[in-house]
Symmetry: C2
Subunit: 230 residues, 2 copies
DNA sequence: CGGGCCTCCTTACGCTGTACGGGTCGCTCC
DNA sequence: GGAGCGACCCGTACAGCGTAAGGAGGCCCG
């Protein structure tokens, strides 16, 4: 077999490149496609070669979170009002920006929730959020509670329970089932009936962005009141 | 090899028994231990035999969620005040009861979040919650928003981002790192310093139950205000 | 009593992450 | 300048995973 033609051209293989390739792969083909062999293939390399730049697959997952959160940190820099004047607006803007980034990486929330240790990017992001709250007059204690209350929302996502199966069929059959079982599930059936004649109809009824903002504002309201109360 | 000694004695193998064994296994040895082979072994059977009672592993996971939520539904029956008098107390009691059940199955939240379709138990549970809100005077629309805002909290859990590695070492090193990087992460370092001299010290500083209730009450407050506002 | 069905077992395949050992390059130092 | 060395990469192999395919035994119904 031909000897390696040009070492330098490809030997740019580095931790950074591995992680970026992992993110790209997940973006293109979904999280299940992110295997060590497939990742290596994308980098034109054998699977075992990856282990010279990352300890194991866990480290890869840690790394992709680092990359994605890094993207967020880059995106939120300088957006939104001055925290000292309007902490609430500043926080809101930052979180919605984070959400916009995560919408480009739909698989990322699932990975983030499996992580156990923070990395520098994440710590930096949270430090920034904390800074906003402090500038707004929060005590450390209340700020701490606030971060817990926001939870994953602070990073711009909420994992929906029992998410949409597939956009078309899923809703229809659930709807039909509920109609038949209207006496067993009266309130759900009622809600469905109520919502049905309001907007377009089937389960386009859940506007993720609207629900996210509703819940976020609910929390911000609550925090504002706790803050005012002292 | 000896012919089967007593078919009847073990042939109680049934979907229910399989799912219950799966729950028990996960309780005892954690989610990673829940493999088809290991599960079969616990039931004194070969792996492939399971496939006569469940379609595949996904169906097993669907099933264990069904079992756990069934446990919740059983536990919440009849607890809390009358919803027509005190929707908020009723909702709160129900959710905290659900949480108590889930604390017995620490692996369950992770499984629930991977599910894509609801089962009858889950639908029934949410119908009950909806009933409480309706009795409290919520419009279908506001109730719908409320369920989304509660999210997984409605089932009694919140997945903490970057959960505790292990109780002892994890906190210490994070603490030391933060102290060293006090100029890079001023707010986190400040919060840590503030909290440190308040209670016992290291990262027993996050009381999960207290944080859960804080966030829950924040949301209930907000919903109450939205309700009053009409 | 005979056929079919329901259960269960056996075997095997493709996939995963990764341990281990060897080969090849470029740099450094005598 | 050549010998050593460390960084990088490859090939092979293994255990474990979910599960497809086919065969064997006991049960019920005709």
């Amino acid at each position: 077999m031909a000897p390696r033609t040009d070492v330098a051209a490809r030997s740019a293989l580095t931790r950074r490149r591995v992680l970026q390739a992992a993110v790209d792969l997940a973006d293109r083909e979904g999280l299940p496609a992110l295997t060590m062999r497939r990742l290596a293939q994308d980098l034109d390399v054998e699977a075992m070669s990856l282990y010279h730049h990352v300890a194991n697959k866990e480290a890869v997952l840690d790394g992709v979170v680092e990359v994605v959160v890094g993207e967020i940190v880059g995106a939120v820099a300088g957006v939104g009002p001055d925290a000292a004047v309007d902490w609430r607006g500043a926080l809101r803007a930052r979180i919605l920006t984070a959400r916009r980034v995560l919408l480009r990486h739909p698989w990322a929330p699932a990975v983030i929730e499996t992580r156990t240790a923070m990395n520098a990017e994440v710590i930096g992001y949270f430090d920034g959020l904390l800074g906003i709250l402090r500038a707004g007059g929060f005590s450390y204690d209340l700020a701490h509670h606030a971060m817990h209350a926001l939870g994953s929302r602070a990073l711009g996502f909420t994992r929906e329970l029992f998410a949409p199966a597939d956009p078309e069929t899923g809703g229809e059959e659930a709807m039909a089932m509920l109609e038949q079982l209207a006496d067993v599930y009266p309130h759900l059936a009622g809600m469905l009936a109520d919502t049905a004649h309001r907007d377009d109809g089937v389960l386009g009824w859940c506007d993720d962005q609207a629900e996210f903002e509703f819940a976020l504002d609910l929390l911000l309201d609550g925090l504002d009141r706790r803050l005012a109360r002292g």
